[in-house]
């Protein structure tokens, strides 16, 4: 093969490996223009043309090779496949251009005859086609295989993911604390989990053999059945109800049941799923809490809140009841039991009382509740007659008539009952209770151990104890209290000795209230401590003022202040009293604290110590209401008292003329005894001059009473006597 610079291709083919001659490049350009539009190659047309230049060079070389071998042309076919000239008309275009132009542009006529050139060109085309076909076949197989592999991989992955997700859901299903059942649309149960089987106390098999409709229990309520039917018709996605089931062993299972509809991909109802939550425990707890919240722990009777709930229910317009009756019972002297025998005995007594009362209120429409310490109330809904309510009160008093035996001791129980009966439409719960409360107090004021019937007139005048108790704190803050002073007079010369401070409540609605109306309440609620402190400070300040102004002559005036049992127990009594005296600058001897005989004799040595300390400081201590407390007279010696205040009951008999000789003797005896014990004697309730004279003759030291002066404001004191 010799170089032929004058060849039609315009360049030598001998110089392989260098820049191809003009002929093949021009051929490649033609080929590119014909084929490039039919390729799917990612090459640009310039890149593609470069590839074709290379392929053309190979073809030109093969065309001239001696001996002629078409095999290299197969590689050209393969290269075309590799370059993605695989569109249907790619190969015809390639072969068409080769057939028409390869010899023209690339054959060297000097070394190849035209016939030889055409012949070789045809055989090269066969080889290109064969190489193309084989490469395309291989590529196709390769691609098909890799795609199949990908499809299988993807399917496997999806299957695995499905399996895992199913495993996960199965675990959730099996281990859920909630009971789950899945049923077809006819209710046949297909799956149940362990939790559901456990709830029904049976095996999964047992539950599975049932129908979902058994679980939804249509007979429970028409509502459930209606919702179940709506669900089965696909009109409802789910419903939720609270349901109970009787277990085979007779126990009751309480559940929250949710039934849901599961639809298929086309939205058609396919399955039903029930989810059952066992709420038996929670329900029990709820019931227990509710019971605790509505019952009194001591007597197990309904408490105040349940009583009110029932009463309000009975009084509500929709209740259908026409009348209600109410017995409000308060034990007489229960506080004394608690104070003297201790709370444990008091509690036992309340339990015994509750039991006895309960036996009287067993009838239908009747309810007994304990609404306070020693307060019980019996409610009768729709009493057959008004008389039935008073009969109940009578039965209650009868039931308490025989003594209660507690720890070998027999206790007499007395009670006062307020009875209210009336039409429901006219009453509110608060009104009924208030009326009963007031009426009960009327029974108590009349001596106790009896019942009283509510009477609208006395109701209107009366002031409910609850009302006062409720308003006491605000009254103290709002300075609704004031003090009146009742002069104490020296019997020997009728001169002014001092005054007893008496607290009053100027109630904004009920006017001025005496201590008997609110001191017991204040004592009961503990408000007596701040109230007493205020009274003491105020009275001491007042006494100081009198002294400074020289009222009462050369002897300094004294002031008497009452001390309640609760104040007596107050740990800071001594300290506070001393502070008050010091702050006001009043000598201790100008203050006298009055303690009732009952409180004093009940006090043990510990409780007397503060009084003793005060007495040692010079504060006078008076034994108030002496003669009402059945003192052991011998005990008087050990008390820190300096004065006896004789109860007015002793002086009553001395008002008459002639005086009751027994009363005279008694008073004489007491005065004599007191003086032996170095106690001075003050008499209360002196209302006449005869009384005053007799008492002076009997040796009484001081007196107070209307005969001398009524209690009044402090500024009236100077002219009082």
């Amino acid at each position: 093969m010799s170089p032929s610079p004058s060849g039609p291709a315009g360049g030598s083919l001998a110089d392989l490996g260098t820049e191809p001659p003009d002929g093949p490049r021009r051929f490649a350009r033609i080929l590119c223009r014909a084929v490039f539009p039919a390729t799917a190659t990612s090459m640009t047309s310039a890149e593609f043309e470069e590839l074709l230049v290379d392929l053309t060079t190979r073809l030109a070389t093969a065309l001239h090779a001696r001996p002629f071998d078409p095999t290299p042309a197969r590689a050209v076919g393969e290269a075309l496949v590799a370059a993605h000239c695989t569109a249907v008309d790619s190969l015809p275009r390639v072969l068409g251009v080769i057939d028409a132009y390869l010899v023209l542009y690339c054959a060297d006529p000097a070394t190849l005859t035209p016939d030889e050139a055409r012949n070789r060109c045809a055989r090269l085309q066969h080889a290109i086609a064969a190489g193309f076909a084989q490469a395309l076949q291989e590529r196709t197989r390769r691609e098909q295989e890799s795609l199949s592999r990908a499809a299988i991989t993807a399917q496997t992955e999806i299957a695995e993911a499905l399996h895992e997700s199913e495993t996960r859901f199965r675990a959730v299903f099996n281990d859920a604390a909630i009971g789950i059942a899945i049923a077809d649309m006819a209710g046949n149960i297909l799956n149940v989990n362990d939790a559901l089987a456990r709830m029904f106390g049976g095996s999964a098999h047992q539950v599975r053999s049932r129908n979902l409709l058994d679980l939804t229990h249509p007979e429970d309520s028409p509502d459930i059945w209606r919702m179940q039917r709506e669900l089965m018709r696909g009109e409802r996605e789910h419903y939720r109800v609270e349901k109970s089931y009787a277990r085979a062993d007779g126990t009751v299972l309480w559940t929250n049941l949710t039934v849901s509809l599961l639809r298929d991909a086309d939205g058609e109802p396919r399955y039903m799923m029930s989810m059952t939550e066992d709420i038996s425990e929670r329900r029990l707890l709820h019931l227990r809490l509710r019971y605790q919240a509505t019952h009194d722990a001591l007597t197990d009777l309904p408490n105040r809140s349940l009583f009110f709930e029932r009463l309000e229910q009975a009084l509500s317009p929709g209740s259908g009841y026409g009348r209600v009756g109410l017995c409000y019972l308060d034990l007489d002297g229960f506080k004394a039991v608690n104070d003297s025998l201790g709370h444990a005995v008091g509690d036992q007594l309340l339990i015994a009382v509750a039991e006895r009362l309960q036996s009287c209120t067993a009838g239908s429409g009747q309810m007994l509740a304990r609404i306070g310490g020693d307060e019980f109330v019996a409610l009768i809904v729709d009493p057959p007659t008004p008389r039935a309510v008073t009969e109940l009160a009578e039965r209650a008093l009868e039931a308490l008539a025989s003594p209660v035996e507690l720890g070998g001791r027999e206790l007499m129980v007395r009670a006062s009952i307020g009875v209210v009966e009336g039409p429901t439409r006219d009453l509110t719960a608060a009104e009924v209770l208030r009326s009963a409360d007031i009426t009960m107090y009327r029974a108590k004021a009349a001596g106790g151990n009896r019942f009283a019937l509510a009477d609208p007139d006395s109701d209107a005048r009366a002031i409910s104890r609850h009302h006062l108790t409720h308003h006491l704190p605000a009254a103290l803050r709002g300075a609704e209290f004031f003090i009146e002073y009742q002069p104490l007079v020296a019997m020997r010369d009728g001169s002014l000795e001092g005054a007893e401070a008496l607290v009053r409540w100027s109630h904004p609605r009920h006017g001025v209230l005496g201590p008997d109306r609110f001191i017991p309440l204040a004592e009961h609620t503990g408000l007596i401590v701040p109230l007493g402190r205020w009274v003491l400070r105020e009275a001491v300040r007042q006494a100081c003022q009198w002294q400074v102004r020289g009222i009462g002559g050369p002897r300094p005036l004294k002031v008497n202040v009452n001390l309640s049992p609760r104040q007596l127990h107050h740990p800071e009594l001594v300290e506070e009293t001393v502070t008050v005296l010091e702050e006001a600058g009043l000598p201790p001897s100008s203050l006298c604290l009055e303690v009732t005989e009952t409180a004093m004799i009940r006090a043990d040595e510990n409780e007397l110590r503060p009084l003793r300390e005060l007495a040692d400081l010079g504060v006078g201590i008076a034994l108030d209401d002496f003669g009402t407390g059945y003192s052991n007279l011998a005990n008087l010696r050990r008390l820190p008292a300096s004065t006896l205040k004789l109860d007015r009951s002793f002086t009553l008999g001395l008002q008459r003329a002639p005086a009751d000789p027994v009363d005279l003797k008694i008073v004489e005896g007491i005065v004599s005894l007191a003086h032996t014990l170095e106690l001075s004697v003050t008499v209360e309730g002196v209302e006449t001059s005869i009384q005053a004279e007799r008492l002076r003759d009997l040796g009484c030291d001081s007196a107070q009473g209307w005969y001398y002066a009524r209690p009044g404001p402090p500024e009236q004191l100077p002219e009082a006597v």
Binding site: S45, H84, T86, L147, L162
Partner: protein, 270 residues
Amino acid sequence: MERPAWAPHGIDLSVPSVSRMYDYYLGGSHNFEADRAAARRAIEAFPGLPKIMQANRAFMRRAVRFAISQGVTQFLDIGSGIPTFGNVHETARAASAEARVVYVDNDPVAVAHSRAVLADDARTDILAADFRDPLSIVGGDPVRRLLDLDRPVALLLVALLHFFDDDDKPGEHIAGLRDALPPGSLLVISHAATESLPGTRERGNRLSDVYRSGGATLVMRTRAEVTAFFDGFDLVEPGVVPLPDWRPEAPVEDEDPIVHAGYAGVGRRA
């Protein structure tokens, strides 16, 4: 293995897949008979379809090279389909050794195939996710691992959006993706259109019918509609134009006129 919520419960190879039909248009053999039958019906409905697909591929390659010329070497190609020759990562890698590519597809077979093909390529990966769930894409592992979202990314939605009708709210999903990408990022879109080539509307409708009968959607959109997808991006020259007119590298006159049935455009995130 975590299975995305949208993934099918199984693979039904008797249902044509748009990515395998696409492969068939390009002369590939990554397809099954159902795909080929559907693709042949599509070509019958819209003769010249393979040409459009080639023009689309050519546009994609020009866009990738354009991105690299702009210094953007990270690519997020959603709806990548079956990886065949001249894919994004090959084109990008040829232009820059730095290039990183994450393909995204929701066709499990395409994903499995891609994973096999890309197994040895540390800078390219495939994520099984759906365009309609942008958060799972930008939060997906390959994206987090391969792409630095603090640097510009070229987001490729090539021949993808016409598979979503307006009910799918494609604009919202693009916005979701856009918000995850930094300024300077590029959005590359090509979209089927008959408006761009007069007299093809009837054929386009027939083509849509073919896709619909195979359970897929194919929506032709107008230039205005395609331009609207670039909300938040500044279109680079020459804007939204027929496929071959976007920054051609060879004389356009050589092209079969049918390839004008399709719009292409590139935008830069402001």
